[in-house]
Amino acid sequence: MDSYWLEECREGDSLAIEKMVHTYQRDVYRLALSILDNPDEAEDGTQETFLAALRALSSFREDAVFKTWLFSIAINVCRSRLQRRKTRGRLQQILQSLFHLRGEIEHPEAATMQNETDAELWSAIRSLDEKHRIPLVLRYYHDLPIADIAAMLNIPPGTVHSRLNHAREKLRALLKEEPR
């Protein structure tokens, strides 16, 4: 998207905003989906991302690539959702242990687990923490170069590389452990 559009978005031109959303919503949604692993949450995340982007549009530096910038917002939005999920889960656990409940702890992933063909791989991926899982998804699903991932996560490229190495190594080890 060129700067002219962005200027119009900043001005509040609804057509321009629509165009922006239209151009990127699929990518943003897939990004959110691949991090959150839950279609409903991904939808909310997409929405939040665009709203946050509009809110922050004035801080967008023209030298940054818009899509990278937008993705970095999406990643932050998704991360805070993951954080929220964790907090909620923890609270639930506390309450349950408090009252010795045998309750189900919410697993947002549960619903999507069924249609996964490569179960071992997925369970290995899920055992990665967010720090390692997100670069992996950005690299292998979104096909992004290391430099972009680094910009989105706001970490040096070397760190991205080492996190990817760690993630791959861990996956390799886990997959080896479990007989196929």
């Binding site: 509040g12 905003i17 279609p39 709203l51 809110r55 791989l121």
Partner: protein, 652 residues
Amino acid sequence: MTGINHKQAQRYLRAAADGLLRENQRALLDAHLRECDSCRAAADELNALEARLKKSFQAKWDANDGPSKDVMSIIHTRSRRIIMTNRIKTTLKTAGGIAALLLLIVFLNSLLGRFRSSAAPAAATQTNETTQSTQAEGLIAFVSKQDNGNREIFTMQADGSELTNLTNNPATDESPAWSPDGTRIAFTSDRSGDMDIYVMNADGSNLSRLTDDRGYEDHFSWSPDGTKIVYSSSETSFLGDSNIMIMNADGSNKTPLTPQPGKYSFLSWSPDGQHIVFQSSDNGEGIATHLFVANINGGGAVIDGLFFEGDTGRQHQQVYWETPNQFVTINSNFEQTPWGKWNITRFFTDGDNNRYNDSNPILITSEMPIFAIFENTYVTLQEDSLVWLAYQGAPFPYSPWKMDSACKTKVIFDLQKAPDGRHAFVSVNCEGGSTSLYLVNSDGSEIKQLGATMDNATPLPFPAWSPDGKQLLLALSDQRKVEYYRVDVEELLDDPSAKPIQLTTTGSTYNYGAVWQPQPFRFGVPVESKEQALIAAQSGLKAAYKYAEPLTVITAEQLSYGEYAKRINQPLNSPSDLKVWFIVYFNNEWQSALPALSTYINDQGQVVPFPTEMSPVSQFRGCVYMAVNAGDGSVIEVGGPLPKGIMPECDN
């Protein structure tokens, strides 16, 4: 040998995977791989893993083509506000940064009260009033049980004076409810044999019976604009099957909203008065609850449909409107766990019905009771501590409030949201003993005790906030009788030794159902000259800025719909009841909220269209304009070009 060793090869392999390998390194790696079986195996393994990852990711997510259409429409509606906020931020920056912001906030604090209240419009202090007053304003209506058991409706001034029995009837009279303009009191009485709804003036005069149906008519509620009353009508008893009915405030045009009697209960009006929410528990086997949203259309009403296929045992307790078309409820289900399972669920009043059956989002599920809901937070219990948690927006560190630290016995507490939606009043009673009162922020921060702890005083439920949120009426029992006390919030915050002021000495064993008289809605102030209107308009302009800030409680939509629209959504009939209306357009933001402003009443008392140059569509785009109805029915445009420096875009 110019080649690389195994360790380097491994490193190059990994770099290659991440596209970080240079050309010459690539050649070196290739050469090594040709010679080294184990490294080649490692490379194959890495490639296989990469391929497997890609394939799995694609298989899982590629089918999802994008978000649903809603995303676009939500972004669409909300983006306007964001743009507006951005402008304001820029404006504040250019206007001198923090100093300007502080000034604005200080200035606005004096204005806040009148916009904040959602239940009852707040009293406005007039700008030409120099006396700064926290004096109580308006009457309080309540029910007092007489010695012979007869219940009568009384009013008194907020200082306890002028106690008046309005009903004076041997029958039961109760459930007083002020009309939103504060001029009339509706109530229920069985003076005609069965329970009916009546209405009278604030002084008890001009009594009129609104329902004369056989059976029980009660559980009524005024529409936000005071033109309609929704109520429950049962042929048998107040516990029997009933219909939800709606009528005009004069008792005409009674229309059922439900097809046949059932176990229906009214929940809430939407702030714009366009919808009502009610629920049914009409399944004979359990209590399967369905939530309904009725669309109030002209004189009649149409049920939009079943919005929520409730599971057995669910009950909706509280409705909190986020926008005129979107609300959340606190609902609980006591069949899932012994102490119930509590949810916060979001619903919408528009759109097609099926959508809600499968995708009404449950925002929060809690194993513990949820007591209240605020803009982003809710209050629940953790052991014997109250906790505030976020149900949307950023999570925040919570600190449980252990209320019983001072009590040796069981704690009984009550929590009542303030009209501003940003505070709550909490009374903590050590069973059978002392009572302490607190003011708490809506996120649980700043728990401040109000005055001193009281002995031998047990608070009754439902303390009543004054419309301006400065006072609170509290019924306290000394085990023999119940009397009303007034909690002056600011005074009690300042003085740790102060206690609530006793207002009544009725000697009654039961006083209850207190409701504070709404103050006439004054957005802005009465003006007599164009000059005054201008001053008022400018203050209104600042208020509008304030309320456009996303961090404040009242959002632009809530303000426009909840406060503007319900007042303005009718022709401006009487010049005297209208003081000044501010109409603020930010990028057409509030345009849809103000449909009735296409007309106004001119000097001759005729309803005429607004001048086209005041149409929000073209002229007002991108800038802020204001129109003021100066109270005599004439319209003064005070917007024009904004004062320079406020919005640079509008300066030329």
